[in-house]
Subunit: 232 residues, 2 copies
């Protein structure tokens, strides 16, 4: 039996189907977060653990560039590194996440030294970075496509924080605001590259698996945070 | 016997010593190039083969960023990727090298498809990229310090091309002109990072070996080009 190349609509539908079924918007921790049911310590645990994910993203994106021999693609992907790191001190996504942590009453120091990061969160994030280092770059790009589903969750989260978690200083929400817009730009770029360069049946199927893997990463991060909240 | 940390002057002297003894300015091919003794086919072979080095540099630099957990260092290193790739189509070091190839009477196509690249040149360049991917980032940074010795060679080369190789269209020399300036900026940055982050006796010695390794890469590239010129 010959395996045929999916047309773009079918390929896109397979990718979207993964998000519908596996994206972490359905994780019990996120459902409770967005329903206003989390205690301050749980919110703080989420912010401190998720920082480990944020701080590793530029290294993940540099791995994709390092593995990509196509100049135009590298040029498209490059802004992600400075989006995270900032072009100058005091700017960029990592910095904005640190401001969220401070708005939640934590010190930069306790975030930067990773004392609150659960081992399972570390393993999941490290798995994502290693995936980007070791897989063909179009597959690593496909794994980033959870961004397709991020803006809705981010908008819902921003509303939930403003409504329920009024103890968080509002200047902490800049990261969420920025990502609602930026995630759309990024996911458009990532989707175009995936549709263009995952151009064999094997690569298309691997791209769908890569997105499923990435959903596992995000889900496992929340499992780890939830477990840390329960036991602490 | 305890091995002691070199002070900065000693460390710098050891690094400079590697350059004095092993940098490819002393390779017979470069000596003949700068004395105006190369035939057009040898110049073309050099341009076409050296392109493979140029085109791999952004992937090498992205590997360093991918391995580096320090935001400030990544921010310092990042401009190298867009220096090579350009921020927009038609710009950047790779593009400028393609213009050099055209100024030497070759087509973009025959450069981009790598038909002229000798296997030994490919192996040497690939070894450099793999070095950056697999070694600790401060050691990979140290391997870039051949840039310390580049401006003098580049200035000498530019003068030689203008004097001896008048069949090359002068608009091809933009790469050399740009690098005389940029290599000083880059090597200053690389040197500061090496002196700061190679901060144990073991790392200092490994940094010196890394620079020696990089000299081997550049020397082997010229060996390969010279052999290709002799046999073709």
């Amino acid at each position: 039996m010959e395996i045929k190349l999916w047309d773009k609509e079918t390929f896109l539908a397979r990718l979207r189907d993964v998000g519908t079924k596996q994206y972490h918007h359905q994780h019990p921790f996120h459902i409770r977060m967005n329903a206003g049911q989390l205690a301050p310590n749980a919110i703080r645990a989420w912010v401190a653990n998720r920082f480990y994910y944020q701080r590793n993203l530029p290294m993940k994106d540099a791995a994709i560039i390092s593995n990509c021999p196509i100049r135009e693609v590298r040029r498209t992907w490059l802004h992600r590194i400075s989006d995270h790191d900032g072009s100058t001190p005091g700017t960029g996504g990592i910095e904005t996440w640190l401001k969220l942590a401070e708005a939640c009453g934590m010190s930069r120091e306790e975030i930067l030294d990773e004392r609150h990061v659960a081992p399972s969160v570390r393993f999941a994030v490290d798995a994502y970075v290693n995936f980007a280092r070791s897989k063909p770059w179009p597959i690593a790009v496909a794994s980033s496509l959870t961004e397709l589903f991020a803006p809705d969750l981010m908008a819902e989260r921003l509303a939930a924080f403003q409504k329920y978690y009024t103890w968080v200083k509002p200047e902490g929400f800049d990261y969420f605001r920025g990502r609602v817009v930026q995630a759309r730009v990024d996911s458009d770029e990532g989707l175009q590259l995936t549709l263009q360069y995952c151009d064999t049946p094997a690569l298309q199927e691997e791209a769908v698996r890569a997105l499923s893997f990435k959903c596992d990463v995000l889900w496992t991060i929340l499992d780890g945070i939830q477990a840390a909240c329960t036991t602490s």
